[in-house]
Subunit: 252 residues, 2 copies
DNA sequence: CGTGCGCTTGATAATGGTCAAGACGCGTGG
DNA sequence: CCACGCGTCTTGACCATTATCAAGCGCACG
């Protein structure tokens, strides 16, 4: 199945949006949850110098693919991406969703090749951080080294959360946990923690949570019936946060 | 660091086992799969200087507990450990098994507190690597920094494998995959890849793989009946590696 | 105005969980 | 050395959750 959006081979000329291209780490709204966190302003400038901002990714475009040479890690500036691996029998496993301010691609470091693919779920702006430069800079800036270690460690603990979720929790709990996770991450970005639009499909949700589409759909219906969520296709409103927490049953 | 072996209160004079205490990274049989990998010999010496080797852990002793202050990461020198988290409703989730040469504790970096507990499944010797020293050394030795980034990245990709396993694979496939993983890790340490003793209980296996003990037991029985494995309690012999691979169905 | 994809809902089936009982192995103490 | 007891493992019968299969709805897009 090929999906091709406007593949306007004809226009050729892109008018870069100057507004867009003035973005830097120093003025980035997300710098308190992204890499620059905990850097002094002249350090931020140095980091900023190695970061590349290219033209936005369109929906369904890949940022990288499993097996690609690993050169960089990436920060999401806007939009959402999903990371996934393809199992040899052709199935897909979604390993994560990445929202603005979050870093992806770190799983490529170990083998110098990306261990998963990443594609945009909607138009997305990305900061590319060449890893070799990041390494050099990290040697010079202990805070940056520390922060990057922490980011990788966080990725590990988050994966462990997901492992626990998949291993121990029911369908209701899994979906509930994902809704809470999105809610929390929205709050970090000063967005509504109770009302949002899901950027991913039901299929992606199910895939991520180890469930079928049908089950995901049924869980949403159930939660709607229980007045915990208001679900209108991708528009979600959390009506009863406490109830949702109880349902998700993870406490952490 | 104080060394106390047989703490025979009366004699006062301890004859430390010189054999044991001559262990260092330079002569360690495991250094090709552990931290020193990719270091020059004078670099290894520097690393060696920060590593602490304390008295062995007895079976069921904890190396650290969830929530403990994070100070160090640890390398397994001998024995096996399991890492696990306790969910708030009191259940346990095993997040990994660690064999000689493997590093654990990296999930504690992100919050300066261990995100999981680690306990010995049998008597185990451990190298403790104080993280602050490791950070300093990493700044000075690019190879070490790189290698540690890679180790963390590997932990991420391994967790993602487990996520996929839990999310997509049947009980047979999960147990098969674990057996193959242990087999491979044994081979790395020049041990038999077809015959080994499982250091963990069926409960631990089930917990790790998101299955009940009963199911794990049934899978072993089934594989025995199919002449894929020879199972005698914890003694495992892989009779048909190809068959096991087919059964595990992961290809990677 | 149709076509297709994504979502929902229902009926049925299968995998693995739960409950229960018994076997086996191991360490302790008589 | 044997008996006991406990913990771990195995096996069986039954049940529940979720997958599978199937059909229909609705919105977006051509």
């Amino acid at each position: 199945m090929t999906i091709h959006l406007a593949d306007t081979g004809d226009n050729g000329v892109l008018k870069p949006c100057t507004h867009e291209y003035q973005v830097n780490c120093g003025n980035c709204r997300l710098n308190s949850i992204c890499l620059p966190l905990a850097l002094e302003s002249d350090d931020i400038k140095q980091l900023d110098d190695i970061i590349q901002r290219s033209k936005p990714l369109q929906k369904n475009q890949h940022l990288y693919r499993e097996g690609d040479d690993f050169q960089s890690v990436f920060a999401v500036r806007s939009g959402t991406l999903k990371a996934y691996k393809t199992t040899d029998d052709g199935r897909e496993q979604v390993t994560g969703f990445y929202f603005p301010g979050e870093i992806l691609g770190m799983d490529g470091i170990s083998n110098n090749a990306h261990a998963s693919s990443a594609k945009a779920l909607e138009t997305a702006a990305i900061c590319e951080i060449p890893f070799s430069s990041l390494e050099k800079l990290s040697s010079l800036m202990p805070n940056l080294q520390r922060h990057f270690f922490q980011l990788m460690s966080r990725e590990i603990t988050e994966d462990q959360q997901l492992i626990t979720l998949l291993s121990k929790n029911s369908a209701d709990e899994r979906v509930g946990a994902l809704m809470l996770s999105i809610s929390t991450r929205n709050a970090r970005r000063k967005l509504s923690s109770t009302q949002f639009r899901l950027p991913m499909s039901r299929v992606d949700i199910g895939n991520y949570l180890g469930l079928t589409v049908e089950t995901v759909s049924r869980v949403f219906s159930r939660m709607q019936k229980m007045d915990i969520l208001q679900v209108d296709n991708k528009e979600i409103e959390i009506l009863d946060l406490e109830g949702l927490r109880t349902m998700a049953n993870l406490g952490r």
